[in-house]
């Protein structure tokens, strides 16, 4: 058995070597940061699980994945997308300030308004963030297909990760480009996220325009062969 594992773990480089793809041997397993996965004591594991633990190699864990329940993968992804020049500390600061700004606005509304409206006001910044990104996701996208010397914009369905990426990218570029120069990023982001939560604002408009373009090019849908 040792010989087969050694043969699987020999130095391996992928056939294509793009710069940002992972260079790990595909034999390696993903790391598991959650504490519950390690809760079962060793005696209760089945022989397969025990073999998995003792012999399989695991990739190194990322710096921002931690076992705390406060960890949120979507927020981590957003922080990574906002990061410039590798300055993760600044990106995380902006994110925490944004969440704080959203919470302050909502809690202020909660406390100053009449008691009847209190049920309807959502104060959890994480819920607002998730819902806003959800509202910004496009359903259908466009891709360029070459046919007969000309390239056409063809509507296709998007994968989940592509949709999430597009929503976050639109949010960040909107806040960076189309707002007043002297406002802080966290202010701009909190305004835009609260607007997206209520299905208004520039990012939702951009999503609708995107959908309209796909609808307009509906005639070319049959160019898709996959």
């Amino acid at each position: 058995m040792a010989a087969t594992i050694a043969s699987l773990l020999k130095p391996w480089t992928p056939r294509l070597c793009p710069v940002r793809w992972s260079r790990y041997n595909p034999y390696y397993l993903e790391p598991e940061p959650r504490r519950e996965a390690y809760a079962a004591p060793e005696a209760e594991l089945t022989p397969e699980e025990r073999e998995l633990k003792t012999t399989r190699s695991i990739k190194a864990a990322r710096a921002n994945d931690n076992s705390s329940p406060y960890n949120d993968p979507i927020i981590s992804k957003f922080i990574n997308m906002m990061m410039q020049d590798g300055n993760k500390i600044l990106a995380r600061e902006i994110m925490t300030q944004t969440l704080e700004a959203i919470k302050r606005k909502q809690v202020e509304k909660y406390h100053s308004g009449p008691a009847a409206e209190r049920e309807g006001i959502e104060c959890n910044p994480y819920a607002i963030f998730h819902q806003a990104i959800e509202n910004c996701r496009p359903v259908i996208g466009l891709t360029s297909v070459q046919k007969g010397g000309r390239s056409y914009q063809v509507p296709i369905s998007l994968t989940d990760s592509r949709r999430r990426f597009l929503a976050m990218k639109w949010m960040i570029t909107e806040c960076r480009d189309n707002k007043h120069r002297r406002t802080h990023m966290y202010e701009k982001l909190s305004q835009e996220l609260l607007a997206a939560f209520a299905n208004e604002g520039n990012v939702i408009k951009r999503k609708h325009d995107f959908h309209k373009m796909a609808e307009a090019n509906r005639a070319y849908a049959h160019f898709r062969w996959w």
């Binding site: 329940p69 969440l99 704080e100 919470k103 909660y110 406390h111 959890n124």
Partner: protein, 355 residues
């Protein structure tokens, strides 16, 4: 233990350590036009109320003030502690007590603001070697007037004639409010007005007449007075704190040669210049010269939250609907907050603000 939010009552005892009390908003605007820390002001705006926790250093200071003999020279109290422990909040708690008892409160919210980032430094009109700071002085006079309106308009009169420029002067026997108004309108001589005001208050505090008042001098970040400044004169030579009129007059105020009041001060590393982050003891922050000037003083250490105070703070945030993350409302989340903040009040506040 549920924190009972009592209405403001100045008869706090040890049983109420850890509980919150509210400051009514009318008194808030009057007593603290800008004396509170910035994050606390944001919290007041969000929660629509000003709730201060009663803690042991504040209670200690208030008990000393109640028992002190005001016929003797003023006692100096220094609140010191690590960064973010609650020194400024304890000072504000004590100042609220003083203002409800009818004292005249002289509050310098942050002495560090006077020794750095000054936009206009004018050579002083009265003394050739000193430098004036008109903007800071007039801003401070405005806040002083808001806090002590009733004293200025009626009771206190000047004791001698002050000449500000060739054409302007304040006669003897005029109410102090006139002098303050003059300082606010003629910004160029506002630093001199501040100096004269401090001198008048020093002479008249704790007199034997029936309209005598007690004077509370509160300076936050007193280590700024003896440190270095980041200001430069026009020939790029560094300015020492003694060259500034405001600082010079304030130092005279902090000497204990006057009776009928108390001097409450706080050390602060956060605004200080050229001091390491880990310095918090009086000897480190005040330096030799500062310590000799302030000696003898009553030191009051301020520490992080105890278990009871942490619990009270946590329950207050829950009650105000501030902790929104579902995990932070569980026992596990509470332990995690305890660990991450290591009971430091300001770090706990910053953590809870985004959780």
């Amino acid at each position: 233990m549920v924190p009972s939010k009592e209405t403001e009552s100045m008869f706090h005892t040890e049983q109420q350590v850890g509980q919150y009390y509210t400051i009514p908003s009318a008194q808030l605007k009057k007593a603290f036009p800008n004396g509170l820390p910035r994050r606390f002001q944001m919290q007041i705006k969000t929660f629509n109320e000003a709730c201060v926790m009663v803690r042991q250093p504040g209670l200690e200071l208030i008990s000393y003030l109640k028992r002190a003999d005001y016929a003797k020279p003023a006692l100096r109290y220094i609140l010191f502690g690590e960064v973010g422990c609650g020194k400024t909040m304890s000072l504000c708690h004590t100042l609220h007590f003083c203002s409800t008892q009818g004292w005249l409160v002289l509050h310098v919210p942050d002495a560090h603001l006077w020794v750095k980032n000054c936009k206009e430094l004018l050579p002083s009109s009265s003394r050739p070697t000193r430098l004036d700071q008109p903007i800071e002085a007039s801003q401070w006079l405005k806040n002083f007037k808001i806090t002590n309106e009733h004293f200025l308009s009626k009771q206190i009169k000047t004791t001698r004639r002050y000449i500000w420029t060739k054409r302007e002067s304040t006669e003897e026997g005029r109410p102090l409010g006139e002098m303050v108004d003059h300082g606010m309108s003629r910004v160029k001589s506002s630093s001199d007005v501040v100096g004269a005001l401090l001198r008048e208050l020093r002479l008249q505090a704790g007199g034997a007449t029936e309209d005598a008042f007690r004077l509370a001098v509160a300076v936050d970040g007193v280590n700024a007075l003896w440190g270095k400044t980041s200001l430069k004169k026009e020939d790029k030579s560094p300015v020492s704190p003694d060259d500034l009129t405001l600082i010079h007059n304030l130092k005279k105020m902090l000497r204990n040669d006057w009776c009928g009041g108390a001097i409450l001060t706080t050390l602060s590393q956060t605004g200080s210049l050229f001091k390491p982050r880990s310095a918090y003891l009086p000897t480190e922050l005040l330096g030799e010269e500062g310590f000799d000037n302030m000696d003898p003083f009553v030191p009051i250490p301020v520490s992080n939250y105890s278990d009871k105070e942490f619990e009270s703070c946590y329950l207050y945030y829950m009650d105000r609907n501030w902790l929104q993350h579902p995990h932070s409302r569980t026992e596990e989340g509470r332990k995690e907050l305890l660990f991450l903040s290591s009971r430091n009040p300001s770090i706990l506040e910053r953590l809870c603000s985004f959780l």
